[in-house]
Amino acid sequence: MATPISEDDPRITAYALGEMNGVERDEFEAELQRNPALQREVADIQAAGAMLSAELKQEKPLRLASHRRTVIDAEVKKAVAIDLTPSARFRLSLRWRPLHKVGAAAAVMLCAAMLWIASARSQENKRVAEAHALIRRLHEAIGRYVADHHQLPPDTGFGLAPDSVAQGAGKTYDAGSLWRCLSKQTQENGKTFGPYIQFSASELTAYQDPVKGASFYVADPWGTPIGYVGDARRVVHNPGSFDLFSAGPDRLTGVGNAPSPVNLAYDGLDNNGDGIVDNADELGAARMNGAMTVACNEARTTNAHLDDVNNWDQ
């Protein structure tokens, strides 16, 4: 590394929070390998960041007063009305004149098709809203768990079959971790902890865990396991904390984003054989082309991409 690193060096925090890139990051990581004190400092900063993040996200929510919301709604309505002036409406109506030549039966069929599409879209929007709410509840519950236990629940190993015995370079992933850690009351050293969340029956799917027996994993409204990445080596979007997401309507992570036609981010494979399933490097193109981030920004209103529903862009 070009200049030695003291504990007062802001580069340590920048690295720990995922704010360092390129050559600087490579050089820092080389120094990190050699320097145990630096490793401890990075881990301490990440733990403090996770604690701070969890505490801040528990602050009492605020809402706009209803009379203020009314003012904004009126402004929106006014703007829409101005854009649809009589002349604009006339121009729009001209576009639909050919419809008059179409028979009544065709019009009825068209209406039926539109109703069906509207109904399907409404169902899908309802599921998307449920997924957002579930992610939010889980995020808060994990924050409370961390505040009590000073560590994250085990990673669920998203992408792996729930009943596989997966090892991540010394770490066992537990598909039922969220149900096991968050929804049960536990006693430790005479203290009672939890439960941090209550799941409805539709949010849980039963499976046989090879180590812990009959268990449940938390599923999103489309039946896919919720993605929970708590292993610090795999976290991509919330360094020092955890990634939480639903695979969304298409049940796949990061599909259909440019420039690569198909990206299966989190495919559950250890692609480079380093013993860690789907770590940040293995996400490769999916990570580099922003499949897990750009999609959610671009397609927020269309629900076309899964990653609309996560804890880094809510």
Binding site: L17, L56, I72
Partner: protein, 178 residues
């Protein structure tokens, strides 16, 4: 710019998504709930007048910037109003404890971490909250606050270090008391 039903839906979804974070941010900037409401209402009204194409892709930075600028503008106006009636030494600095108290009194039980955060200088609190509460990157925080990225990194590093040191100090004190 076409303002149709899709545009109205976009405005509504933006309000749902950013109403809470902007109110929390504005409350820290102004120290008063009602002024925070004013600031966020004005931010969304300015959003209605803005061409969607010019802000998509950096919507969060745009909203936090507008919110911040209007909060500062409001604070400046109030300082001028106050200065007509009071001598300059009577005017409280926005960084003084009255702001922290206004914010803290909302919370029934504030964790030690948040108490320590509230003792930091206001500029450190602001960047730390933008990072850990609102999930902005150093670059985005720099765009919102007009500080350099290096300065943002420095403020976060120093603030986080102070919080860690104080928490460690307190746990050691507790240990010796036992």
């Amino acid at each position: 710019m076409v303002r149709d039903e899709a545009w109205a839906e976009w405005i509504n979804s933006t309000i749902s998504r950013f109403e809470e974070p902007l109110l929390l941010y504005a409350l820290r900037m102004t120290g008063h709930t009602e002024e925070a409401q004013d600031v966020v209402q004005e931010t969304f009204l300015r959003l209605c007048a803005q061409d969607r194409a010019t802000i998509e892709g950096h919507l969060n930075v745009w909203l936090f910037s507008v919110c911040r600028n209007y909060a500062l503008e409001l604070r400046r106006k109030q300082s001028r109003m106050t200065s007509m009636n009071k001598s300059p030494e009577d005017i409280p600095s926005p960084a003084e404890p009255n702001l922290q108290e206004a914010v803290l009194e909302r919370q029934e039980s504030v964790s030690q971490v948040l108490k320590e955060l509230a003792t930091l200088p206001v500029n450190q609190q602001e960047v730390i909250r933008l990072k850990f509460q609102h999930g902005l990157s150093y670059r985005e925080i720099s765009d919102v606050t007009k500080l350099t990225v290096t300065n943002v990194g420095f403020l976060i590093h120093v603030g986080l270090k102070k919080i860690r040191e104080r928490l460690v100090g307190q746990s050691q004190e507790l240990g010796t008391q036992k």
